[in-house]
C-alpha cells in the first residue's frame, strides 16, 4: 500500500467522521449566522446617530431649530452650526468636524447640500425636506465617490475575522484530534500500519478540507447576501481578495495546526492539551489583534510591512493589506515563500516531537524528552 493511500485513508476518516459530526454542523451554522449578522448589522444600526451640520449663508431663522426637532423625531442627535462662508465650511467637512454643509447663496440661487463623501442618508432627507420644493437644492460630494473603497475596507475587516476564526477553529480541531487518539489509546494500532508523519499529514489534510469547505460557505453566503440585498457592489478586486483569503487560510492553517499538533501530542489528556497549546493560542490572538488594530489603520506602515514577513502574523496581515490595495506583489510572493519554508521546518521539527510523544502516556511530556524519544528523527 502506498503512503499516499495511508494518508488519504486518515484524511478521509477525519472528513467523514468530523464532517458529519454535530460539532462541525454547529460550527458552520454559527459562522453563517455571524456572516448574516455582519451583512445586516449596519442596516439595523443605520449609521452614526450623531450628526453635525454647518449652515453658510442667510438661512431662515427657524431652520436650525426645525431641523433639530425633525432629527430628534428620527432618533438622530443633530447639532447645527453657522459657518462664515462656504470655503471654511468645506474645510471643516474635510477635517471631519462637520458631517454635512448646507450652503444658501445670498443671491437666491439654488442651495447646495455638501458632504465629504457618502453622507448620512437620514440627515440628507431631513435637510432636503426642509425645502418646500426639493429640486431647489443641489447635492455635491467633495471627494469623488469611491464605492469600492468602503467595501474593500469592510472586506479586509471581515476577511481577517474569518481567517482568524477558521485558522483557530480548525487548528484546535487538529489539536483535539491528536489528543483524542492518544487519550483513547487507539493511536498504537494506527501506528502499527501508518507512519507518525503520515498520520499527522492525513489528519491536518482532512481537517483542513473541512476548514476550506466552511470558509467557502461563509464567503459565498456573505457575498451572495450582500449582493442580493444591495448592501455593497462587488469591487473589481473581489476574486483576488477571496483567493487571498483562501490561500492564506491554507498557509496559516498549516502553520498553526502543525504547531498545535506538536504541542498537543505532549499531553495525555484533553485538559492538559489546552495548557500545552496555550503559547500558540497567545501568538494567534496577538497576530489577530495586531492585524485588526495596527495593520488595518495603517496598511502601508512600517509595522504592517515588517509583520508581512513574520510567519505567525503574515496570514492575517497579508490578505488585509491586499484587500486594501496596500501591498506590492513581491511582498506577497516573498511572504508566502517564507511561510512555506517555515511550515516545512515546523513540520520536520514538530513531526519528530509528535512521533516521540504519541506512545507516551501518564504525565505531560517535556518537549526535549519527546524529541529524544523519537528514534526516527
Amino acid at each position: 500500500m502506498t503512503r499516499r493511500r495511508s494518508i488519504w485513508l486518515v484524511a478521509r476518516r477525519e472528513l467523514v467522521e468530523r464532517g458529519t459530526s454535530r460539532g462541525f454542523l454547529i460550527s458552520v451554522a454559527i459562522s453563517v449566522a455571524l456572516i448574516v449578522g455582519a451583512v445586516f448589522l449596519p442596516t439595523l444600526i443605520g449609521g452614526a446617530s450623531r450628526q453635525h451640520l454647518g449652515i453658510a449663508g442667510p438661512a431662515p431663522a427657524a431652520l436650525p431649530a426645525a431641523l433639530v426637532t425633525a432629527a430628534k423625531g428620527a432618533d438622530l442627535t443633530l447639532t447645527v452650526d453657522t459657518v462664515p462662508d462656504q470655503a471654511s465650511g468645506e474645510a471643516r467637512l474635510l477635517d471631519g468636524s462637520l458631517d454635512a454643509l448646507l450652503v444658501i447663496p445670498a443671491d437666491g440661487s439654488t442651495p447646495q447640500y455638501v458632504v465629504k463623501s457618502r453622507g448620512n442618508p437620514l440627515l440628507q432627507q431631513l435637510v432636503v425636506a426642509g425645502f418646500t420644493r426639493p429640486p431647489d437644492i443641489t447635492l455635491r460630494e467633495l471627494e469623488a465617490p469611491d464605492p469600492g473603497r468602503d467595501t474593500a475596507f469592510a472586506f479586509a475587516n471581515v476577511g481577517v475575522i474569518l481567517l482568524f476564526i477558521a485558522i483557530f477553529t480548525f487548528g484546535s480541531w487538529v489539536l483535539t484530534g491528536v489528543v483524542e487518539e492518544k487519550q483513547s489509546r487507539v493511536v498504537e494500532i494506527v501506528l502499527s500500519t501508518v507512519a507518525p508523519r503520515d498520520l499527522l499529514i492525513g489528519k491536518v489534510f482532512g481537517i483542513g478540507l473541512l476548514g476550506i469547505a466552511q470558509l467557502v460557505v461563509m464567503v459565498a453566503v456573505g457575498l451572495g447576501l450582500g449582493i442580493a440585498l444591495h448592501r455593497f457592489d462587488l469591487p473589481s478586486t473581489t476574486p483576488s481578495a477571496v483567493g487571498m483569503v483562501l490561500l492564506w487560510f491554507v498557509l496559516g492553517y498549516l502553520f498553526y495546526s502543525t504547531a498545535m499538533a506538536t504541542l498537543g501530542a505532549l499531553a495525555s489528556r484533553m485538559e492538559e492539551a489546552t495548557n500545552a497549546s496555550s503559547p500558540i493560542s497567545f501568538i494567534a490572538i496577538g497576530a489577530y489583534l495586531f492585524a485588526l488594530i495596527v495593520a488595518l489603520n495603517d496598511p502601508s506602515g512600517t509595522a504592517a510591512r515588517i509583520a508581512t514577513f513574520i510567519p505567525p502574523v503574515a496570514p492575517m496581515v497579508v490578505p488585509l493589506r491586499a484587500a486594501l490595495g496596500a501591498i506590492e506583489p513581491w511582498e506577497i510572493v516573498l511572504s508566502a515563500t517564507l511561510m512555506v519554508i517555515s511550515i516545512w521546518v515546523l513540520f520536520v521539527l514538530g513531526g519528530r516531537v509528535y512521533s516521540g510523544a504519541l506512545l507516551q502516556t501518564g504525565a505531560r511530556m517535556r518537549l526535549r524528552d519527546a524529541w529524544r524519544a523519537s528514534s526516527k528523527g
Partner: protein, 296 residues
C-alpha cells in the same frame, strides 16, 4: 516464521531488552511470559516498528520486516483503544483498509468478523455505547479483520470474563490451526498451559526459556511424585531425608524429587508398607517451571 535475534533496547539507565532471541513458527500458538517490566511490550512494539531497537534484528520469513509485511500483521496492544465515537462496523472497515484492503472487501471482512464475534446487531452503534466486554471483542476484530499472517496480542485475556476467555481462546486456536503465527503475552499461566503449545519466558530483557511446553517440562530436573499407600498414614516416608514432602493428607503424599530419582526403589519401599493405590510421576506445571526460571 517470525525470528527475533539479539534484540536490545535501553531507555537511559533502564535495560528493557538485553539480547533477546526467539522465534514463532507458522501455525503455532506461543505464550509470551514474564514479570511486569520484563520486556514483553517492548518486544511486541519492536515487531511493529513502534520502537527502534538499539541492536539486534527482527525478520519475517527470513527478511527484515518492512511496511508491506506489517500490513499483514495483526496487533492488539496492551493499552486497548479504538475511536469511541466511530461506528463499530466503520471502525473495523477502516482498520481493514489501513491494512491494505480495498473499501468493498474491507466492508465485507468487517461484517464477517462482527458476525463471528456475535456483534452484528451492534454494527451501526458507536463504540462508546457498547459494554466493556463487547468493546474488547471489537478490539480483537480490529486485529483480525484483514486475516493477518502473524498475530501479536499483548495481554489479550486480561479483563475478560469466563465467556470472553473462552471466545478468545477458541479464536486464537482457530487462527493457529489456519496456519497463522500467534504470540500473546499473559500472566494467567494455567490458561497459557491450556491454550498454547509453545512458550517464551523473558526475564530482565533476556529469554530464559523457550520451546514446546511439554519439552520444557520434561527437561526440568524436578519431578512431582504422588503416592497413596492404603492404611499406612505415610509412615513409609519416615527417615527418608532425601525426599521433600510438599503435601500430605491421610494416606496421600505429594513429593518433590529429582528427575533421575530411582523410581523402582521408591515403589518397592511403598509396596512394602502396604497396598499402593496411586503412584504418579509428573513433570512440573508451567507455573512451577516459570517460578523456577524466573523466581529470584
Amino acid at each position: 516464521m517470525l525470528e527475533i535475534h539479539d534484540l536490545t533496547k535501553t531507555y537511559g539507565p533502564v535495560v528493557a531488552l538485553d539480547g533477546a532471541s526467539f522465534s514463532v513458527r507458522p501455525g503455532r500458538l506461543v505464550g509470551f511470559l514474564g514479570r511486569n517490566g520484563a520486556g514483553k511490550t517492548t518486544t511486541m512494539r519492536a515487531v511493529f516498528g513502534l520502537i527502534e531497537p538499539d541492536r539486534g534484528s527482527i525478520t519475517w520469513r527470513g527478511k527484515p520486516i518492512d511496511r508491506d509485511d506489517r500490513l499483514r500483521f495483526g496487533y492488539m496492544p496492551e493499552q486497548r483503544g479504538l475511536y469511541p465515537r466511530m461506528k463499530v462496523a466503520d471502525q473495523l472497515a477502516y482498520f481493514g483498509e489501513l491494512h491494505g484492503l480495498q473499501a468493498a472487501p474491507a466492508r465485507v471482512a468487517a461484517s464477517r468478523w462482527l458476525d463471528g464475534l456475535g456483534l452484528t446487531d451492534r454494527a451501526g452503534s458507536k463504540l462508546e455505547t457498547l459494554s466493556h466486554g463487547n468493546q474488547q471483542r471489537v478490539q480483537l476484530g480490529a486485529a483480525l479483520v484483514h486475516d493477518p499472517e502473524l498475530l501479536v496480542l499483548d495481554e489479550p485475556f486480561s479483563g475478560l470474563d469466563p465467556i470472553g476467555i473462552d471466545t478468545m481462546s477458541t479464536i486464537l486456536r482457530q487462527r493457529a490451526a489456519a496456519g497463522v503465527s500467534v504470540i500473546f503475552s499473559s500472566h494467567q499461566l494455567d490458561l497459557v498451559e491450556d491454550v498454547c503449545e509453545d512458550v517464551v519466558i523473558i526475564e530482565s530483557g533476556r529469554i530464559v526459556a523457550a520451546g514446546a511446553i511439554d519439552e520444557l517440562r520434561a527437561a526440568s530436573t524436578r519431578r512431582h511424585l504422588e503416592v497413596e499407600v492404603v492404611g499406612n498414614a505415610n509412615q513409609w516416608l519416615d527417615g527418608r531425608a532425601d525426599l521433600t514432602v510438599e503435601e500430605t493428607r491421610d494416606d496421600f503424599a505429594r513429593l518433590a524429587v529429582p528427575a533421575d530419582v530411582d523410581l523402582g526403589a521408591l515403589l518397592a519401599r511403598a509396596s512394602a508398607a502396604g497396598p499402593v493405590r496411586r503412584f504418579a510421576f509428573q513433570p512440573p506445571t508451567l507455573s512451577e517451571l516459570f517460578m523456577e526460571v524466573v523466581g529470584s
